[in-house]
C-alpha cells in the first residue's frame, strides 16, 4: 500500500480495497521499523488510529472529502492543537500550541489522518537537518548522508514511505533542496499562495509552506488542500485557486523553457550538468523550445538573503524569552539573567548565529548599508525573474550544486553550508513558485531538476512536471530497504 500514488490510495479507500485503519497502521509500523532515520519528532499513533477509524466511518457513509483517510505528516513548524510543536528546538521542547495552523486545519477538514510531526533544522535554519535539537535525519538513499534541510524530516519520510505525503516550508530552498536530495517532488508555491498562520516564522517575507510528495500528481492534490486566502494572514493573496489536478494533462508542445546561463556556468558540477541536460532533452522531445537566458543579478541572491532572512528572524525569534511559554532557564537571578540564559541555553548555534547577523544588519549605522541595500538587490532579482518570464514560460535549472553530502561534512563551515542553497534562494527573494522533481541519479544518489514559473503559475509548473513524470520513472524509484 505504501508505494501507491495518492489518487490510487484515494481510489483504494473509496472502493474498500483497504481501510484507512489498515493504511494508517501500515505507515505507523514502517515509522517504528525505520525509527533510525529520525524523520519524526513526534508520532501521534493513538490519535492517528482514532482518526483513521473515524475516516473509515465517513468513507462507509459516502461522506468522504478529498483526502479522507489519507495518512499525512506535518513538518514540526506547523502548530498543532494539543500536539507538541517544537520547530526542531530545545526552546519549544515543552510547547503545545492552543490552535492549529491554517494548513493543518485545512488538511484536517479535508479528512487527512495526521501520523505525527516531522524533524527539521532548528527554526528552519539549516540545509542539512543537522541543526535540529532532535538530531540529524538520515537520507534513506544513504544513511551516512544528509537528507537536506530544513524540511529534511519531510523529505526523508516521503522518500522512505513513512507517510503517504508531507508538508514542508521553504524560506531559501527548504522544500526543494531536501526534495532533490531525497528524490521526491517538492513545490514552493508563490509567496502568499498558502497561509502562514500557525507556521512558526523564520523569515516572514520569504517563508512559504508547500507540498512534499512522490509526484507532481500527488503534489497537485496536496496544494489543492493547502492553497487559498486566509483572513488570518495579511500576506496571503486573495485570488482564485485553480483545479490543479484537472490542469495536469495539457500538452507542453511549444512551451518556452529558459536556461539562465548563470545557472549552468563553470561552477556547476559536471555530473549534475549532464543529468540536467538529459532531463531537458526529454522536454525537447515533448515539444518544448529551449532558450538560453541571462539573469545577471542571481549571484547577489545569497548575500542579500543572508541579510534579509537573519534581520527578520532576529525580530521573529525575540518572543522566545522564557516569559510566557517554551524553555526557561533555571533559577534566573534577574531579568537580564532570565533573557540571556534562556536564549543562550534554548537556542542552538546556527540560530544564534543568524540572530546575531540580523541584529547587526539592523543596527543604527548599518541599516542602510545592509538591510536597505539587500532590499534593493531583492528588487533587482525580482526584476530579473520578471524580465526572464516575459521571454520564456518557465525557467529550469539545478536545485543543488551536488548530491547529498555526508552527515557532519559541512557543519564546521557555515559559508559552505549556505552555498548549498545557491540555486534556490533567489526564487524566495522574488516570491515566484518553483518545484523540484527527481531527474536522475549520480552514484545512486538522487538529483533534482528545478522548474521556476511566474507568480501563481503553480498549475503550469505541476503540469510541466507531470508531463515529464509521464515519460520518466525517476520519481517511482524507492531507496533500498524501503520498498
Amino acid at each position: 500500500m505504501h508505494t501507491k500514488t495518492l489518487p490510487d490510495l484515494v481510489r483504494g479507500l473509496r472502493s474498500r480495497e483497504f481501510s484507512s485503519l489498515e493504511l494508517t497502521q501500515s505507515f505507523l509500523n514502517r515509522i517504528r521499523q525505520h525509527r533510525h532515520l529520525n524523520a519524526y519528532i513526534t508520532v501521534t499513533e493513538e490519535d492517528a488510529l482514532l482518526n483513521a477509524k473515524a475516516a473509515d466511518v465517513r468513507l462507509a457513509e459516502g461522506k468522504a472529502e478529498l483526502l479522507t483517510g489519507i495518512p499525512i505528516a506535518h513538518k514540526d513548524i506547523f502548530c498543532t492543537l494539543d500536539v507538541k510543536t517544537t520547530c526542531g528546538s530545545k526552546m519549544l521542547d515543552n510547547f503545545t500550541a492552543p490552535y492549529n495552523a491554517t494548513v493543518v486545519e485545512k488538511f484536517n477538514q479535508a479528512g487527512a489522518v495526521m501520523l505525527g510531526k516531522l524533524n527539521m533544522d532548528e527554526f528552519a535554519m539549516g540545509s542539512s537537518n543537522e541543526t535540529s535539537y532532535y538530531g540529524a535525519v538520515k537520507n534513506p538513499w544513504n544513511t551516512q548522508a544528509v537528507p537536506g534541510g530544513s524540511s529534511g524530516g519531510s523529505a526523508a519520510a516521503v522518500a522512505a514511505r513513512l507517510a503517504a505525503c508531507a508538508t514542508g516550508t521553504d524560506t531559501g530552498g527548504s522544500i526543494r533542496q531536501p526534495a532533490a536530495l531525497c528524490g521526491i517532488t517538492g513545490l514552493k508555491p508563490t509567496y502568499g499562495r498558502v497561509s502562514r498562520y500557525g507556521m512558526i516564522a523564520y523569515a516572514s517575507s520569504l517563508d512559504q509552506g508547500g507540498p512534499m510528495a512522490h509526484s507532481a500528481e500527488d503534489a497537485a492534490i496536496l496544494l489543492q488542500t493547502m492553497a487559498g486566502f486566509d483572513e488570518k494572514d495579511s500576506t496571503s493573496v486573495n485570488c482564485p485557486v485553480p483545479d490543479y489536478s484537472a490542469g495536469l494533462n495539457k500538452s507542453i508542445a511549444g512551451l518556452k523553457i529558459g536556461l539562465p546561463k548563470e545557472f549552468f556556468s563553470d561552477g556547476l558540477n559536471s555530473h549534475i550538468a549532464a543529468t540536467l541536460e538529459a532531463a531537458i532533452n526529454e522536454y525537447r522531445k515533448l515539444g518544448a523550445e529551449i532558450k538560453e537566458i541571462s539573469m545577471p543579478n542571481l549571484k547577489l541572491a545569497i548575500p542579500a538573503y543572508y541579510v534579509i532572512a537573519p534581520a527578520e528572524c532576529s525580530a521573529n525569534l525575540s518572543r522566545f524569552d522564557g516569559v510566557r511559554f517554551g524553555y526557561r532557564c533555571e533559577n534566573p537571578a534577574d531579568l537580564t539573567d532570565l533573557y540571556t540564559r534562556t536564549r543562550g541555553e534554548g537556542f542552538g548555534k546556527e540560530v544564534k548565529r543568524r540572530i546575531l547577523m540580523g541584529t547587526y544588519a539592523l543596527s543604527a549605522g548599518y541599516y542602510e548599508a545592509y538591510y536597505i541595500k539587500a532590499q534593493k538587490i531583492r528588487r533587482l532579482i525580482s526584476d530579473d525573474f520578471k524580465n526572464a518570464l516575459s521571454e520564456v514560460d518557465v525557467i529550469m535549472g539545478p536545485v543543488t550544486p551536488a548530491t547529498a553530502f555526508g552527515i557532519g561534512e559541512k557543519m564546521g563551515d557555515p559559508i559552505e553550508m549556505y552555498l548549498s542553497d545557491i540555486y534556490t534562494i533567489a526564487i524566495n527573494l522574488a516570491g515566484v513558485p518553483a518545484l523540484s522533481i527527481p531527474a536522475g541519479f549520480i552514484a545512486e544518489m538522487p538529483v533534482g531538476l528545478q522548474i521556476i514559473g511566474n507568480y501563481f503559475a503553480e498549475d503550469m509548473l505541476l503540469n510541466i512536471a507531470h508531463q515529464y513524470q509521464q515519460v520518466t520513472d525517476w520519481h517511482q524509484q524507492t531507496p533500498k530497504g524501503f520498498e
Binding site: 502548530c79 510547547f95 490552535y99 500557525g198 495579511s234 525580530a315
Partner: protein, 477 residues
C-alpha cells in the same frame, strides 16, 4: 539672564475601538489580568497580526481634523526591545511613513490664540503592564492592554511655557473626544503625555539640549513637571553645568523629575518594516468619505455659539469644551424655547455646579435635557422666579419628577396677582413706619429690606418684577 522654554509633546491617545489593533480580543478596561489577551496578543509562535480597519479610520479622522496630510501609503514597522510586558519582543509601530503627516492645532492662552504644529501621528500597539506589587519580589504580567491601538501624536517644539503645553494638551483632549476616537480617560491611561523640554537664552535661535519627561498623566502634573524641569535646567546651566540629553521620570509624590536613562543608554530599536503586514493605502475616495464624517469641531462650534446664540466668550467656551455638553445645551434650548442666555447660564451655573459636586459628567446628569428645559420654560413664562427655580432644580436632582409636577405638589407657583401682592405690600408698609421714613428721607438701601419682607411674607412666590414696581410706586406715594 532671561531664558526661553521650548516644549514639544508626544501624546498617546488610546483609540476607542472594540477590539485590538491586530487581534480580535476586546479592549475593555478593568478585566481580570490576562483574560483579554488572545494567542496573537500573547505573541505565541506562528500567530500573525491583522490590522483593525477601525483604528485606521479613527487615525484618518484625526488627521482630517488637524488638516494634516494623510499618507497615501503608510507602513508598519517593528520597534525591537526586550521587556516582559512586550510579548513579541518588538512593538508594531510606524516609523518612516506614519499614517498622519504634518498638521496643526489652534490653542488659546489668556485670550490669545496660537498655532501649534503637529509633526506626525502614527498608529501603534500598546504594551501590557508589569505589576510589581503583590508578587513577593517577583513581577506579574498583565497582557490585557497589549495590542490596544494607540495614536501617538507628536507636536513640533512650538510651545514656550508649561501653560501653553497644558492648553495644547487640553485642546487635543477635547478634540479626540469630539471626534469620538478616544475616551480621554486619563486615570485609565487612555490619554498619556511625554514632554520634551529645553531652555535657551532669550533671542537665541538654536535649541538647547532637551530632556524627555515620561508618562505625565494629568493636566496638573504636566504643568508641574514641566515647570520643575525648566527650573532644574536653568539652575543647572546658571551654576555652570550642562543639560544632558536623557529620559526623566516625573514623580508626582515628590514633585520632581529624575533620570531614567541617558542618550548613551538609550535602546537601538532597530526599526524595520514589519513583513507580516502590508502597507496601508488610503485612497482619495476614502479620504472624501471620512471628511463627510467629521463632526463640527470645538473651535467652529464655539464661534457658532457666539454668533448664533449671542453667547459671551466664557459661556461659549464652557459649553463647547465637550461635545456632549454642547449637545445638551442645544437640546435644552430647542425643547424649552427659552432665551439662549438663560439656558447657557443655567447649564454653566446651577447644573455644572451640581455635576461637579457629584463628580459627574454631563452624560451622567440625573437631570436630562428635557426636564431642565421644562424648568427653564417655567422661569420664562413667569410661573416661578429664578430663586424658586433653584429649589425646584434641587428637587429634580433628587427625583424623577418634572418641574411642573414639583411646582404643583409644593405650591410654588409664582403669584402675579397684583391685588394679592398689593395687600401684602400695604401690610408691610403699615407695619414698618420707621423704615418707610428712612426710605423717604433718601436712604435707598432700605428698599431691599421691603422687597425681602414682601417676598418672605409671600414665601418667595411673588413675581419679583411686579413686587419691585409696586413697592416703588407705593413708597413714593
Amino acid at each position: 539672564m532671561e531664558w526661553e522654554t521650548v516644549i514639544g509633546l508626544e501624546i498617546h491617545a488610546q483609540l476607542a475601538t472594540k477590539s485590538k489593533i491586530f487581534s480580535g480580543a476586546s479592549t475593555a478596561y478593568g478585566s481580570e489580568p490576562n483574560t483579554q489577551a488572545c494567542a496573537i496578543d500573547l505573541g505565541l509562535p506562528g500567530v500573525l497580526p491583522v490590522l483593525n480597519e477601525e483604528a485606521v479610520h479613527k487615525a484618518v479622522l484625526f488627521g482630517m481634523a488637524i488638516e494634516a496630510e494623510i499618507t497615501p501609503y503608510s507602513v508598519f514597522a517593528r520597534k525591537n526591545y526586550f521587556y516582559p510586558d512586550l510579548p513579541k519582543g518588538y512593538q508594531i509601530s510606524q516609523m518612516e511613513l506614519p499614517i498622519v503627516g504634518e498638521g496643526h492645532l489652534e490653542i488659546e492662552v489668556d485670550g490669545n490664540s496660537k498655532q501649534i504644529g503637529i509633526t506626525r501621528a502614527h498608529l501603534e500597539e500598546d504594551a501590557g503592564k508589569s505589576l510589581h506589587e503583590d508578587f513577593h519580589g517577583l513581577t506579574g504580567i498583565d497582557l490585557n492592554r497589549a495590542g490596544t491601538p494607540l495614536l501617538e501624536i507628536v507636536s513640533e517644539p512650538d510651545m514656550r511655557s508649561a501653560r501653553e503645553a497644558v492648553a495644547y494638551m487640553k485642546t487635543l483632549h477635547e478634540l479626540v473626544r469630539y471626534l469620538d476616537i478616544c475616551d480621554g480617560n486619563m486615570q485609565e491611561g487612555s490619554f498619556r503625555c511625554d514632554a520634551n523640554v529645553s531652555v535657551r537664552p532669550k533671542g537665541q535661535k538654536a535649541f538647547g539640549t532637551r530632556a524627555e519627561i515620561k508618562n505625565i498623566n494629568s493636566f496638573k502634573f504636566v504643568e508641574k513637571a514641566i515647570n520643575h524641569e525648566i527650573e532644574r535646567q536653568i539652575e543647572l546651566i546658571e551654576n555652570g553645568g550642562k543639560v544632558v540629553q536623557e529620559t526623566r521620570l516625573y514623580d508626582s509624590v515628590k514633585d520632581e523629575t529624575r533620570s531614567m536613562r541617558s542618550k548613551e543608554e538609550a535602546n537601538d530599536y532597530r526599526y524595520f518594516p514589519d513583513p507580516d503586514l502590508l502597507p496601508v493605502f488610503i485612497s482619495e475616495d476614502y479620504k472624501a468619505l471620512v471628511k463627510t464624517q467629521l463632526p463640527e469641531l470645538p473651535q467652529a462650534k464655539k464661534h457658532r455659539f457666539k454668533d448664533q446664540y449671542a453667547l459671551d466668550e466664557e459661556n461659549a467656551a464652557i459649553l463647547t469644551c465637550s461635545c456632549q455638553l454642547a449637545d445638551y445645551f442645544e437640546a435644552v434650548l430647542k425643547d424649552s424655547g427659552c432665551e439662549a442666555k438663560l439656558c447657557a447660564n443655567w447649564i454653566t451655573g446651577e447644573l455644572s455646579a451640581a455635576l461637579n459636586k457629584a463628580g459627574l459628567e454631563i452624560s451622567g446628569s440625573p437631570v436630562d435635557h428635557k426636564r431642565l428645559a421644562g424648568l427653564l420654560a417655567r422661569i420664562s413664562d413667569n410661573t416661578i422666579s429664578g430663586k424658586i427655580a433653584k429649589q425646584v432644580f434641587e428637587e429634580m436632582w433628587k427625583s424623577a419628577a418634572t418641574a411642573d409636577e414639583i411646582i404643583a405638589a409644593k405650591g410654588l407657583k409664582q403669584i402675579t396677582d397684583t391685588s394679592a401682592i398689593e395687600a401684602v405690600i400695604d401690610k408691610i408698609i403699615a407695619g414698618n413706619p420707621g423704615q418707610v421714613e428712612q426710605y423717604r428721607s433718601g436712604k435707598d438701601k432700605v428698599f431691599a429690606f421691603f422687597v425681602g419682607q414682601v417676598m418672605k411674607e409671600m414665601q418667595g412666590k411673588a413675581n419679583p418684577g411686579e413686587v419691585n414696581k409696586m413697592l416703588k410706586a407705593k413708597l413714593s406715594q
